[in-house]
Amino acid sequence: MTISILFYLFSIILVLSSLGVILSRNPVYSALFLVLSFFQSAMLWMLMQAEFLSMVLVLVYVGAVMVLFLFVVMMIDIDIEVMKRSFAKYLLIGFVISLLVIFEIVNVLTLNYDSSNLSTQFDSFDKDYSNTKELGSVLYTEHVYAFELASVVLLLAIISAITLTMRKRPGLRTQTISNQVSVKSEDRIKLVDVKPSSYREEKK
């Protein structure tokens, strides 16, 4: 009872906030709606007792990815009027793509889905069931190659993202700490012994 009430509550908010992502005029609102929908999907996962996945969703997507998204969206000034003018240009292709996506979803749900497995309730697990442990025991045994492969792909993405930003601009003033630390007093200052008598003679 309580579970289904919560399920419908979270899913309604999820659907509404997903609509908000695409319908709101301000891109910052869109990003914030996306944060809300991530939270709601995390809550749905929590209802399925998949607490690891739900926490990680919040941690990775809300805590890191969307922060960077907001960063970018807040700093660029998007003119809605200009965006609207090109709306008709993309209308056709957008229509085709959305039809394709709808077809795929319907295809998965009706044709390739064993409806005898379908249940109207979430599975309930006993009290010492740990989603984290279950996930780990499958991830590091059965799917270990796929897991390693995914991590290597991610590492590649990190390295390539860093190399993209590594460029040498001429005239950039950067600080080299090792040079600063290793500098000696002779490099910076030259002490000259000026004889006071000779100075006075020159003045005359």
Partner: protein, 358 residues
Amino acid sequence: MNLVNNFIQFLTAYINLPSYFIFILISVIKILIVLVPLILVVAYFTYAERKVIGYIQSRIGPNRVGWLGLLQPFADFIKMILKEIIIPSNANKFLFLLAPLISLVAAFSVWAVIPLTDNFVIADIDAGLLYVLALTSFGVYGVIIAGWASNSKYAFLGAMRCAAQIVAYEIAMGFALVGVLMASGSLNLGLIIQAQEGVGVLSWFVWPLFPLFLVYFISGLAETNRAPFDVAEGESEIVAGFHVEYSGIAFGLFFLAEYANMTLIAALTALLFLGGWLSPFAQIGFFEDSFLSQPSFFWFAIKTLFFMFCFLWIRATFPRYRYDQIMKLGWKVFLPITIFWIFIEGLMFLMNIGPWSN
């Protein structure tokens, strides 16, 4: 805790209440037990900050309101409540008022999984450590939204600085926590503390994980935007950072959230590395059978207060970092240290050395 249980038993025995109502009632009582003292601690933390830094700088600190200035937090609070909340022109009103609430909710809700003694925790959940990480990272939204909704350059600059800093240090912090959960074998905070049980001080995680302990605490300083990492509000550069446009109780909530976060980091450091409620003298012959060798809330409070004092001590001692140095410290120093130490820890597991191996 027994008192609460007795009260609940009394209720169930004499008044026939449905079970979900009882559950909600217990939860609310537990939340109040944690939240009311927490707010008082946070209020007196602000007083302690002014007093401690005052004495470090050879001043007296607040001493006018009440005996030794002890009523100062209440005076501040009344002042903040009575002041007007000024909303800047062209500011986004809804988000402007939402931002301080987000900060405060994120700071307070983490306390749901913090175990205060061995039998008191509001929600004893399995992925407690992940919950802590997820919600502390959610707190950054309060700052970003505040900076953007204020419609002010300084606030926006402060928010950008703050967000980049929090995202950078969260990674080092997360890796430090990976070390802790490798050592304890659990994400549950209660089990992490139980894994540190043994011969008093010697079996705490702080010794085998000493570099991670330092990284965690310093990242905690950076996460809460405290000195020496407080460029997000750097007074000399961008006035007061993300909350420059806030006044009245809206500012007060940010203030409260900042100090609640500091208390949280102090409590977490005590839990994860110093054995939480465990006694430093446990199983040491001399203190056997005395109060000092028993695990209790007293130890947890002392450890937390020590780290809270460290926050103030560090603020009064160190000058502010420059922004690029903060980023360098986070990415180029802390991250390699944590990854290296996790590798060392793996080797320690493999060779069965270290206090937790068997």
